[in-house]
Each structure stands twice: as structure tokens, then as C-alpha cells.
């Protein structure tokens, strides 16, 4: 849960937030590339969820397992919902939606890592 892949999800989330911020400042709506980026982020969180749950069953470590699974299963819904909510918006605020999603996801990864570590 603290490996290279979870670091990659953090980096991709932040890059998407930055990308969306640029669109927001340029008053550009979401385009197909930013949509693809958001769906990529969604897919990465699906992989993170599967990987995390597999890892969880492979360890006897004591941590809040229900909370861990809850975070992992619900987290892909945020970029997926954000993509759906932003895709038909013709104003720059669709990009604002993606920016919020991109900022929230790295926070979630850090929180998931804390739960994994027993914090």
C-alpha cells in the first residue's frame, strides 16, 4: 500500500488537478483529453482497490480492516462521478470539478496508507 503504484496514483491525481487548474484559468471546458485523464485516474483507483484488498488478505497485521476496504471501494466513485458530472458542462467549471477530484484523490491515498499503517 505504500509502494510505487500508490505513489503513482498520487502523482497522477496532482497532475490532473494542475491540468484542470490551467483549463479553469484559461476558461476552457473539459475536453476529451482531460476526460481520458480522469478515467485513467478512476482505473488506477480500481487497481489500487484490488491490490489493496489482495494485500490485506495476505497479512496478519492489525489495522482497521473495514475502514480500509471502505476507503478502497468508495474511492474510484469520486473520479468516476466527477467525470460524469463534468463531461456535459460547457463552462470552465467542469474543469473546476476535475480539479477538485484531482486534489481530493491524493489526500485519500495518504489516508488509506495511514489506515494501513494502523494510524
Amino acid at each position: 500500500m505504500t509502494g510505487a503504484f500508490s505513489t503513482a496514483t498520487i502523482i497522477v491525481g496532482l497532475l490532473i488537478a494542475l491540468w484542470a487548474l490551467v483549463y479553469l484559468l484559461l476558461k476552457r471546458p473539459v475536453d476529451r483529453y482531460l476526460q481520458a485523464g480522469t478515467l485513467l485516474l478512476t482505473a488506477m483507483f480500481v487497481v489500487l482497490a484490488i491490490g489493496g484488498i489482495v494485500q490485506m488478505f495476505g497479512t496478519n497485521q492489525d489495522f482497521a480492516r473495514a475502514e480500509f476496504v471502505g476507503y478502497l471501494l468508495l474511492s474510484p466513485l469520486i473520479p468516476l462521478g466527477g467525470w460524469w458530472w463534468a463531461k456535459n458542462d460547457e463552462s470552465r467549471w467542469g474543469s473546476g470539478v476535475i480539479m477538485v477530484v484531482g486534489l481530493v484523490m491524493p489526500v485519500l491515498v495518504v489516508r488509506i496508507q495511514q489506515v494501513w499503517a494502523g494510524v
Partner: protein
Amino acid sequence: MSESPAINRGFGRVLVVLYAIFAIGATSRSALQLATRFDEAPVAYLLSAFAAIVYVIATVALARGNRTTSRVAFIAIAIEMAGVLIVGTISLIFPEYFPRASVWSTYGSGYLFIPLVLPFIGLWWLRKVAREEPTR
């Protein structure tokens, strides 16, 4: 035209997402708390559940964005504002009732104070939209 004056358009799109994130987070956290460790901090956990319901109602009302739901959103956000201010203050004066944090305790400090700021932004937005389109 890009700033269409309906509560779920323009900046309202972003507001819905912020509320949705708190609705999902508060609801799932609260369900887990009530199901597994209600006895540890009943006051904090019941308040978390109440906060979750308020966030869900505000999210749905803001997202639908017609005249009736604008009013519902206004009421829900006003309750949210009262909730975060009252619970925040009580949690500072009587910390013994809050051995575990609720989303609103110490004014939402565990969530970067976003729970404190959000209702102010929400009411500002509803007011702005109402002014731009007085006939609705």
C-alpha cells in the same frame, strides 16, 4: 451564456462535487461508526450521522437545482452552518463529550476546516443565483 444562472450550473457544478465528497465520506464513516463502535462516543457518532444526512440532502438538492430544491438546499445549508458552529463551539467547551471526533467537532479542523467554510460558500452561491434571476 456560460454563467447560466441555475444553482447546479457554473460554479454550482463545483459546489455539488464538494458536497458530494462530504456526503459520501460522512455517510460511509458514520455507517461504520454506528455499526461497529457506537458505545465509544455516542454523542459524536450521532452528530456524525446527522451531519451525513444534512450533506446528502444538500448534495441532492444542489444537484437537481430547480426552484423547490433550491429552497431545500438553502434550509439544509443553513442547518449545516448552525451545526458546524454549535457543535464546533460545544466540542471546545465540553471536549469530554467528544472522545472521538465528529465531522463538525472543533469546527471541522480534522478536515482542513472545509466543513466550516462550505456552508458560507453555499449560502453565498444560492444568494448570488437568486439575485441574478429574480423571476425564477
